[in-house]
Every structure is written in structure tokens, then in C-alpha cells.
């Protein structure tokens, strides 16, 4: 299938899903199959037309931008802080066998712990503002980056290291010119996962208690049993995540220029 045809079929499929959804939930359109009450399906599953009305209203009066901005801010902060901490810890434990032997069980335990339960604690520590969400995102991002960097440091080619030694690099220069680039390449290879996790941390944090953000909108609507607004929020979040993922792919392509891609390895 050609590229455009594929895209067209994908769009058609999406449209078909929404049409089927609308047909099955609009009160009185088809005879009720499961429930006696004709309004029940719309109550549980919402109606796509109304969802799009909500989304349209959000964007036309501009009220959604404030919330999107807050969610984006939390995601970016969680990603940056989590990555820097993970990078630093990964480098440290990767290079010091004493530290890694000492801290290994703690790292494993912390990683095994379901971190979402920390959200209420962060709420108490950092308040209802963005920082409690950032903190939750950081705990999620940190471990992904940490394990990747740790692995990256362990797998630095000994030949490349010896080569830099013979070229006169001291320990600090090795850290700067061999371990760090090698580790950052591992950070970038986990970019999609860690940005996704930062996003999850932000939204879940908002959902559990906040005054703004898309997660907050969803939580508010849910409290009023307004299922259409809940789905509208979910759709906006999904679209937002897709845009984020697209941006990450672009960034990755620029930053990992030196890496041989599966398809674009060009031999001269």
C-alpha cells in the first residue's frame, strides 16, 4: 500500500470508529440492546458529537491553553530533572563498583515500589501546585534513565577507552569525552519511554489533586458525572501525547546523527 493510501485508510478507520460510537450511544437512534433506559449508553460511554463540542468550546474560548501549558510544564520539568538525576546517579554507580554494590538493593527496592502511591506524600510535601506533579514524574523518569545510563557505562568499549588513554586522556577527560557521550546516547534511546513517563506522572498527579492542568479538567468532569468532558479531556491528552512523541522523534534524529540507523547506514 502506498504511503498516502495507508494514511487515508487509517483516517477512514478512525472516522468509522467514531461513527459507530455515535450510532451506538445516541439516545433513541437504535433500539436499546443492553439497557432498558435509552439514555444509559450515552451516560456510560458519552457521545462523540458532544465530546467534539466540548473540545471545540475549549479551543475557541482558549480556556484549554492554560491547562495544556501547565501539563506541558510539569512534563518537561519532570523529564529534565529526572534525566539529570538519573544520568548523574547512573554515571556514579556505573563508575564506582563500591557505590553500586552498596546501593544496588536499595535501587532495586525503590524501582519495585509502585511510585504512584507516593503522590499523596508529594502533595503534602510540595502542595497542590506543579511541583508535586513534577516530583511524581521525576520518580518515574529517574529509574528509566538511571538503568539505561548504568548499562551504558558498563558497556563502554574497553578498546575505545584504552585508545583515549593512549591519546593522553586523563580520568576527567575520559568521563567527559567517553562515558558521558556514551551514557547520553543511552538516555536518548530511552527518550520515548521517559518522556511518556513524565507525562503520565504529570497527568496522574493532576488527577489526584490540583487546581489546573488537563488531568484536573478530567477529574472535575468526573466529579459531575459529565462523561463527555472526561472523554474530551482524554482525547486532548492523547493528541497532546502524539505531538510530544513526534517532537521527541525529531529531536532524536538530530541528536543521534552519529548512530547507525537500521535502514540508513550508508557505506562509502
Amino acid at each position: 500500500m502506498s504511503r498516502w493510501k495507508l494514511r487515508a485508510v487509517q483516517a477512514l478507520l478512525l472516522a468509522a470508529i467514531f461513527v459507530a460510537w455515535q450510532v451506538l450511544t445516541q439516545p433513541g437512534l437504535v433500539p436499546p440492546l443492553v439497557w432498558d433506559n435509552p439514555d444509559r449508553a450515552a451516560f456510560f460511554f458519552g457521545e462523540p458529537v458532544r465530546m467534539f463540542q466540548v473540545i471545540w468550546a475549549w479551543f475557541s474560548d482558549g480556556s484549554i491553553y492554560k491547562h495544556l501549558w501547565v501539563t506541558l510544564e510539569e512534563t518537561v520539568l519532570a523529564f529534565v530533572i529526572g534525566s539529570v538525576l538519573g544520568l548523574a546517579m547512573g554515571l556514579w554507580l556505573g563508575l564506582s563498583s563500591t557505590a553500586s554494590a552498596l546501593l544496588d538493593p536499595y535501587i532495586t527496592a525503590l524501582n519495585a515500589m509502585p511510585r504512584v502511591v507516593l503522590a499523596p506524600i508529594f502533595m503534602v510535601w510540595f502542595g497542590l501546585g506543579i511541583w508535586s506533579k513534577v516530583a511524581l514524574g521525576v520518580t518515574l523518569v529517574f529509574f528509566i534513565v538511571f538503568f539505561n545510563v548504568y548499562q551504558g557505562v558498563k558497556e563502554v568499549s574497553p578498546v575505545v577507552l584504552n585508545n583515549t588513554v593512549m591519546l593522553g586522556a586523563n580520568r576527567r577527560q575520559q568521563l567527559r569525552h567517553v562515558y558521558l557521550p556514551s551514557a547520553t546516547s543511552w538516555v536518548f534511546s530511552s527518550l520515548h519511554t521517559s518522556v511518556g513517563m513524565a507525562f503520565v506522572g504529570a497527568v496522574v498527579g493532576e488527577y489526584l489533586g490540583s487546581a489546573s492542568g488537563v488531568g484536573y479538567l478530567i477529574q472535575q468532569a468526573e466529579g459531575a458525572f459529565d462523561i463527555n468532558t472526561v472523554f474530551a479531556g482524554i482525547l486532548v491528552l492523547t493528541a497532546f501525547a502524539l505531538v510530544l512523541d513526534f517532537a521527541v522523534t525529531r529531536a532524536e534524529r538530530r541528536l543521534l546523527l552519529w548512530r547507525p540507523g537500521q535502514s540508513e547506514t550508508e557505506q562509502l
Binding site: V159, V160, N162, T164, M166, L167, G168, A169, W258
Partner: protein, 272 residues
């Protein structure tokens, strides 16, 4: 005049699990490489050739014996030596040019000057215009040229080369050998060239040293190569003098190669 590099009864024993598992790679090796001399070390596979080179580089401390560089006993890394590794040693995240500047950068040379000198060196190894390519975008032969430039830009008086061209196809290899000889003859450095290819050793060197099969390898033959220079490595292989030398050295090696082969076979048999 002191030798550029001299091994004085060097022994390297690697500790294994338990005293019985200790492995002596080289035993009691005494060998001197004169200044400006091109010496090849040949021997059967697994005979500890690379071990000797790592000792000369200071990457490996010998269990006993002394290594002298220009008369001084070596402690730590050999700062007078450049090392060309058998496997890929370029930093994959640096472009060809940035790989060549690395040594100058580590030494604190100003960036602009480093880049200019690196550009000159890339041109000398025939890679002008390829400076912004990353290692994975270069062919095997080109990567070896970058490695060569990376080593030579620091102008080390001693070159240590560990089967640098073994991964290349025969044509590229002869091309690289000729280029190496040309660069070397411009300002004669002392070279220790490790190879298992006797023809390569003879065509490049002033002297060929034959190592016995491991464990406890030691030199069993030392042959001066009196072929005239400048040489073309492809053509010189056809001269009668080359064939005579090859014959003589091969005879002294044959027994060791067979011994090494037998040991490998026994090891394989024992493992099964």
C-alpha cells in the same frame, strides 16, 4: 644510543581462578627495538603477541621484568607511544575530524589550531573532505586511516600496531601497507608491528621476530630483512630475495604453528 623500546626478561602471568588456572602468556622475553627501526612480531594465534604490545604501551604491567623506553624504565602509561588497535577504537559519537583532534584536545591545544592540523592529517591519509563523516558512515579501510591519523597527529616516537589491517580485504590492505610505509619513511619512527601474516611482516619490516606458541611464549627467531627500500608491498613479494627470506622464516615458524594448532585442537577436544 639506548633502544627505543627494550623488553628485559618480561614475564606476564594472568591470575585465573585458583593457582592451577594461572596462565603465563609470555615468559622471559628479551627484545630491543632500535630507534627508527620497523620490527614485526609474528607468531601463531594466541601466543601473547598483543600481551607484549600492551606491556610496551603501559596498559599492562608485567609480572616481572622491566620495560625501558629510550633507556628509562616505564611506569604507568607510555606517553611516547601511539597505539593502533586491532578492533574499532574510534569514538563513534565523534566525526572523523573530531576523532583526529581528540589527542590534541586532551593535550589542551587550542581548538582552531587542532582542527586545522587534523584537517591536514586527514588529507595526508587520503580522507580530505570526509572530516564531517561519522565512523559508521565510513568503510573499514577509511576507519583505519582515521585511526592512523589519530595516532600520528600526536607525533609519537614509538608506534605500536596490533594487527591493524587484519580486518581489511587484501587489496585495501596492501594499499594501507604502502601508505603506512610512505608515512613512516617521511620521519622514521620506531615501530612494533604485530601480525600473524608472515608476508605482511617481511614486506614491511627491517626485522622480523618469531614468537613460539603459547603458553609461555618467547622469541625463537630474529631475522633481519635486507630488502631494499622504498618498497612496494605487492611487488616485493615476487622477488627471489623475499621468497628466500619467507622460506627461511616459515621453516622456523612451522613447528610452532603446528604446536599452536594442536593445542587449540586439544582444548576444543577437552571442552567437548
Amino acid at each position: 644510543m639506548p633502544a627505543a623500546v627494550s623488553f628485559e626478561s618480561i614475564t606476564c602471568t594472568f591470575a585465573g581462578r585458583g593457582p592451577a588456572a594461572a596462565y603465563t602468556a609470555v615468559r622471559d622475553v628479551t627484545l630491543a627495538i632500535g630507534e627508527g627501526e620497523f620490527v614485526s612480531v609474528v607468531g601463531p594465534t594466541g601466543c601473547g603477541k598483543s600481551t607484549l604490545l600492551n606491556v610496551a604501551a603501559g596498559l599492562l604491567r608485567p609480572s616481572s621484568g622491566t620495560l625501558r623506553v629510550l633507556g628509562e624504565p616505564l611506569a604507568g602509561i607510555n606517553r611516547r607511544a601511539g597505539y593502533m588497535f586491532q578492533s574499532e577504537a574510534l569514538m563513534p559519537w565523534r566525526s572523523a575530524l573530531a576523532n583526529v583532534t581528540a589527542g590534541l584536545e586532551f593535550a589542551g591545544v587550542e581548538r582552531g589550531e587542532a582542527r586545522q592540523r587534523a584537517g591536514d592529517w586527514l588529507a595526508r591519509v587520503g580522507l580530505a573532505g570526509f572530516g564531517d563523516r561519522y565512523p559508521h558512515q565510513l568503510s573499514g579501510g577509511m576507519r583505519k586511516r582515521v585511526s592512523l591519523a589519530q595516532m600520528l597527529i600526536l607525533d609519537p616516537p614509538v608506534l605500536l600496531m596490533d594487527e591493524p589491517f587484519s580486518a581489511l580485504d587484501i587489496q585495501t590492505r596492501q594499499l594501507m601497507e604502502n601508505e603506512l610505509l610512505e608515512l613512516w619513511s617521511a620521519n622514521r619512527k620506531s615501530v612494533i608491528f604485530i601480525t600473524h601474516d608472515l608476508e605482511e611482516a617481511i614486506s614491511l619490516s627491517d626485522r622480523v621476530v618469531v614468537l613460539s606458541a603459547g603458553p609461555a611464549a618467547h622469541p625463537i627467531g630474529d631475522f633481519p630483512i635486507d630488502l631494499p627500500r622504498p618498497r612496494d608491498v605487492a611487488e616485493i613479494r615476487l622477488t627471489p630475495r623475499f621468497i628466500a627470506l619467507h622460506d627461511r622464516i616459515w621453516h622456523s615458524m612451522k613447528e610452532e604453528v603446528l604446536k599452536g594448532y594442536q593445542q587449540t585442537r586439544n582444548r576444543v577436544a577437552a571442552a567437548q
